[in-house]
C-alpha cells in the first residue's frame, strides 16, 4: 500500500483479530452513478474497542456504515459479524444480528413520549410499564438520566440523542455505530456520551465512531481507520498522532493556515434593533429584544448552544420571518418588511443550518438548487423564465470554487455526502457577493481541510468589504473567525465583546450569564 508510514502492525495482528473481531469487512465495494463510494475496503473492529472512521467529506464513511446497517447493499465483498457472514437485507435484519446505529439526524416523533418513541422502534415492544422500567434502569446504569414519560418536544438535542442511544442499548448490540453524533452536543453532553461509550466498550461492545472532530477522536478512540476516496488508507492509533497529522493522512497533504489579514472595519452595514419574535412552534425559541450591528469588513460571531434561538435569528435575518418596521436595516434601508428574495436583491444573504430540506431541496439537482437563492442576484431567471444554462454554469462555478466532490451539477442534493452539500450551500451564497452574509453552523459536518477552506472564504468575503454574521456552536471556530463575539441564550443576545483577548472562561461566563443579565434588565 502506498501509505506505509501510518500502517501499524495490522499484518501481524491481522490473523489474531480476524478470529476475535466483532465485525470484519473484506474487500467491500459500492458504486453510485459516477462515484466509487467504497473500493476494496477491508478492516476489523475488535470487541471493547472504540474505533474511529476518519476521512474527508465524501470519503465514503456514511456509505460504509449504511452497508453494515442494511440500508445500502454492497456491490461486492463480504462482511462478517461475530465470525458469521453478515449481509443484512434491511435494518431489521441488521438489528436482529446485533448491529445498532445512531444517526446524525434524529428520527423521533416530537409529539410522543420517550417510552412511546422507543417502543415504536422495537420489533416486539414489551408492555408499557415494563418498558418504562427498563428505560429507567438502563439509563441509570449508563449514567444517562432520562424520564420515559417526557415528551420529545421538551428535550434538548443532547437528551434526544440519549433517547436514540438508549433505544440502541435496549437491544444489547454487539456493534454500535455512531455517524457524527457530537455535532449537535454541547461539550458537556459530548463528555457524557464518551463516558457512556467507554462503559459500553468495557462490557465488550464494539463501537464504530464517525466524526470530523479530530481532538475528540484523539482523546477517546482506541484505533482509527482512515478512508480516502473510498479506499482504506491504513489504520492508526489516534493517540500517537497529532490532529494535524491525522488530517494530513485523510487529505494526503498539508492543511493550510487561516489568513485573517487585510480586513478593515468600515461603516455599519446591517443593523437589528430590539427585534422580538414569537416562537415559531412549540419546540421553538422566542427572540427577545435582539440588537446587533455588523460593520463592513467585520465578522460577528454568535455563540451558544443550538436551540437557544439560532434558527429563529437566522430566519429573521433571511426574511422568512418579518419583524416590526424599522427593526432590520441594511445600509440605512429598512428591510424589515421585505421577504427573502427582496433581501437577497438588496444584498442580505443567509445560509441556514439544516442543509437537507431548508438550505437545499434534497430531490433537486445542484443546478436547480442554485435557483433557490441565486435566481435574481445571479440573473438565472429573466422575466420569470429560468435560464437553465446559466444556472448550470453557476452550479459548476460553485462546485469548482468550493471543491464540492460530486459527479456533476446534475446530481441530486441528497446524493452528496453531508459535508459536500454543506460546502455547496455556503459556496452558493458567498459566490453571490453579498453585502452581508449570515450563516448558521457553516462547517457542520465538514472535514477539517474543507472547514478551513470554508472559513477562509468567509474571511475573504469580509476582506472584500462585506459584513459576516457567523452563528456557531463551535467556540474554536468563532475564536478563529470573529472580530466581536456575543452569546445567544434562550432567545437573548449578550452585548458583543472584542474576541481578541477573550478567554474561554470569559466566554463560558457570557454563555451562561447572558441569560441572567438579560433577565435582570426586565
Amino acid at each position: 500500500m502506498g501509505f506505509p508510514r501510518y500502517q501499524n502492525n495490522d499484518l501481524t495482528k491481522g490473523t489474531n483479530l480476524a478470529e476475535t473481531a466483532v465485525f470484519r469487512a473484506e474487500r467491500i465495494g459500492k458504486s453510485y452513478p459516477g462515484v466509487r463510494a467504497n473500493d476494496d475496503v477491508s478492516f476489523a473492529v475488535a470487541p471493547g474497542e472504540i474505533h474511529a472512521l476518519l476521512g474527508e467529506n465524501g470519503a465514503g464513511k456514511s456509505t460504509l456504515v449504511k452497508m453494515i446497517y442494511g440500508l445500502v447493499r454492497p456491490d461486492d465483498g463480504q462482511m462478517f459479524l461475530m465470525g458469521q457472514p453478515h449481509h443484512p437485507a434491511d435494518p431489521r435484519a441488521a438489528r436482529a444480528a446485533g448491529v445498532a446505529m445512531v444517526f446524525q439526524h434524529f428520527s423521533l416523533f416530537d409529539a410522543l413520549t420517550v417510552a412511546e418513541n422507543i417502543a415504536l422502534g422495537m420489533e416486539n415492544p414489551p408492555p408499557r410499564r415494563t418498558l418504562s422500567d427498563r428505560i429507567t434502569q438502563v439509563s441509570h446504569e449508563f449514567g444517562l438520566p432520562l424520564n420515559p414519560a417526557r415528551r420529545i418536544a421538551t428535550l434538548s438535542a443532547g437528551e434526544r440523542q440519549r433517547v436514540e442511544i438508549i433505544r440502541c442499548l435496549l437491544q444489547n448490540p454487539r456493534l454500535l455505530i455512531m455517524d457524527e453524533p457530537t455535532s449537535v452536543l454541547t461539550p458537556q453532553e459530548a463528555e457524557l456520551l464518551f463516558a457512556t461509550l467507554r462503559k459500553l466498550a468495557g462490557q465488550g461492545t464494539a463501537i464504530l465512531y464517525i466524526s470530523h472532530k479530530l481532538e475528540e477522536i484523539r482523546a477517546h478512540c482506541d484505533r482509527a481507520t482512515i478512508l480516502r476516496g473510498g479506499k482504506v488508507m491504513g489504520s492508526a492509533d489516534p493517540r500517537a498522532h497529532s490532529a494535524r497529522e491525522l488530517a494530513a493522512m485523510m487529505v494526503g497533504g498539508q492543511m493550510r493556515e487561516i489568513d485573517r489579514s487585510g480586513r478593515v472595519a468600515g461603516d455599519v452595514l446591517l443593523q437589528m434593533e430590539n427585534v422580538s419574535a414569537p416562537a415559531p412552534s412549540a419546540e421553538g425559541t422566542a427572540l427577545k429584544g435582539i440588537s446587533l450591528a455588523v460593520r463592513s469588513g467585520e465578522i460577528l460571531g454568535i455563540g451558544g448552544v443550538a436551540g437557544n434561538g439560532q434558527e429563529e435569528l437566522l430566519s429573521v435575518l433571511s426574511g422568512e420571518v418579518l419583524t416590526r418596521p424599522g427593526s432590520v436595516t441594511l445600509e440605512g434601508r429598512d428591510l424589515s418588511q421585505a421577504g427573502p428574495e427582496a433581501r437577497r436583491l438588496a444584498g442580505l444573504l443567509a445560509a441556514p443550518e439544516d442543509r437537507l430540506g431548508h438550505a437545499a431541496v434534497p430531490d433537486f439537482s445542484l443546478t436547480d438548487n442554485t435557483l433557490l437563492t441565486a435566481g435574481g442576484r445571479k440573473v438565472l431567471v429573466r422575466n420569470g423564465m429560468i435560464d437553465h444554462r446559466a444556472a448550470r454554469a453557476f452550479a459548476e462555478e460553485v462546485i469548482k470554487g468550493y471543491d464540492v466532490r460530486t459527479p456533476g451539477p446534475g446530481t441530486a442534493a441528497r446524493a452528496l455526502s453531508g459535508g459536500n452539500l454543506q460546502k455547496f450551500v455556503i459556496g452558493r451564497e458567498v459566490m453571490q457577493a453579498p453585502r452581508v452574509l449570515a450563516v448558521n453552523q457553516p462547517t457542520w459536518g465538514v472535514d477539517a481541510g474543507a472547514a478551513a477552506a470554508v472559513r477562509q472564504s468567509l474571511l475573504d468575503l469580509a476582506r472584500a468589504g462585506a459584513g459576516v454574521i457567523v452563528i456557531s456552536q463551535d467556540l474554536d471556530e468563532l475564536m478563529e473567525l470573529s472580530d466581536r463575539f456575543c452569546a445567544l441564550n434562550e432567545g437573548r443576545l449578550s452585548d458583543p465583546r472584542p474576541t481578541e483577548g477573550l478567554t474561554l472562561d470569559e466566554i463560558g461566563l457570557m454563555l451562561g450569564g447572558a441569560h441572567g443579565m438579560a433577565e435582570a434588565q426586565i
Binding site: L71, N124, P340, V361, D368, L372
Partner: protein, 358 residues
Amino acid sequence: MMMLIPRTETSTGWQIATPIMAVLATMITGGLLFAIMGYDPVAAIRTIFWDPLFGPAASYSRPQLLVKAGPLILIASGLAIGFRAGIWNIGAEGQYIIGGICGAAVALAAYPGEHWWLFPAMIAAGAFGGWAWAMIPAMLRNRFGASEILVSLMLVYVAQKVAAWMAFGPLKNPEGFGFPGSRNLQQYPSASNPELIAGTGAHWGVFAAALAVLATWVLMSRHIRGFHIRAAGLAPRAARFAGVRPETLVAFCLGLSGALAGLAGIFEAAGPAGQITDSFGSGYGFTAIIVAFLGRLNPVGILLAGLLLALTYIGGELAQLTMQLPAATVQVFQGMLLFFLLGFDLLTRFRITRGVPA
C-alpha cells in the same frame, strides 16, 4: 403482523411502469369480474378498450374521444399543478359546475342578441366562476387553516344544489314547456361551442385543453413559479427560504385549477351538454383526479391518461348498449385504475414484510 419497510433503492423506470401495470391489472381484474357475472370477458374488454376506436361503430364513437378527453385534460392540468405543491383541490367538479353556470348565465342574459363578443365573455365568466368557487377553500385555508381537501369537496355538493336551483329557477328556459333546464345554447349561434373540424369532435374546449397542456408544461419546467411549486411540494421550508409565501401559493394553485375547471364547464355547457340542467355535473371533475395521478402529474402523461379515461367512458357506454353490462361499469373501472395505481406506487416505494408476532 404485516409491515411496510421503505425500499432502500428505488428506480425511476417504475415511474413509467406503474401506470401501465395499473392499466393491465385493471383489464385483468375487470375481465375476471365480467366472467364471474357471466359475461364473456374477452368480448367485454374488447368492447371497452378496442371497439370505440376500431370497432364497427367506430366512426360514431371516435369523435367522442376528444369530446370526453378535452374537459378531463383541461381540469387535470390545473389539478396536477396544485398536487405538485401539496395543495389538494378535490372539488374541481364543483368549480366545473359553477363555471358552466356563470358562462351560461352571461349567454342567457344576452339572449337572443347576436354579438361577436358574447362567446369570449362567456369563457371569461366561466373561468371566473371556477376561480371564485376555488377561492373559497383557498381563503378558508389561509385564514383559518381549514383543510382545502374537505372544503373543496363539500363545495361540490353545494354546487350541485346551485345547479338544480338554476335549472328549476333563474336559468330555466321560459319556452321549455315547464321542463327544468336552461335554453339550449347550441341553438344560439353567438353562444354555441360547435364542433370545429367535422368528424373529430374537436370543439374550442379541446383546443383549450391542448393549450393548457403546453402552458402547464412551460410553467412547470421553465418558469420560476413552477420551480417554486415543485420546491414547495418537496421541501416546504426550502421553498419558504427561497421566498415563496405559502398563502400566495395556495391561492395561486387553487385559483388556477378552479379557473381551468370553470373553463371546462363553460365549454361543456355551450357545447356537448348544450344547457344547464340539474345533472350538469357529470363527474369530469372527479375523474380528472385519476387522470392527474395516472399521468404522474406530468403534462404529457396527463394527455395520455385523459385519452385513456375518455376511452373507458365511451367503451363503458358501448358495452352497456351492446352487451347490457351494468351502467356502473365505468366507475368500477376508473376506481380500480386508481386503486391499482396507488397500490403499485406503494409497492415500488415500500416492501411488505411479515413481522414476528409478539
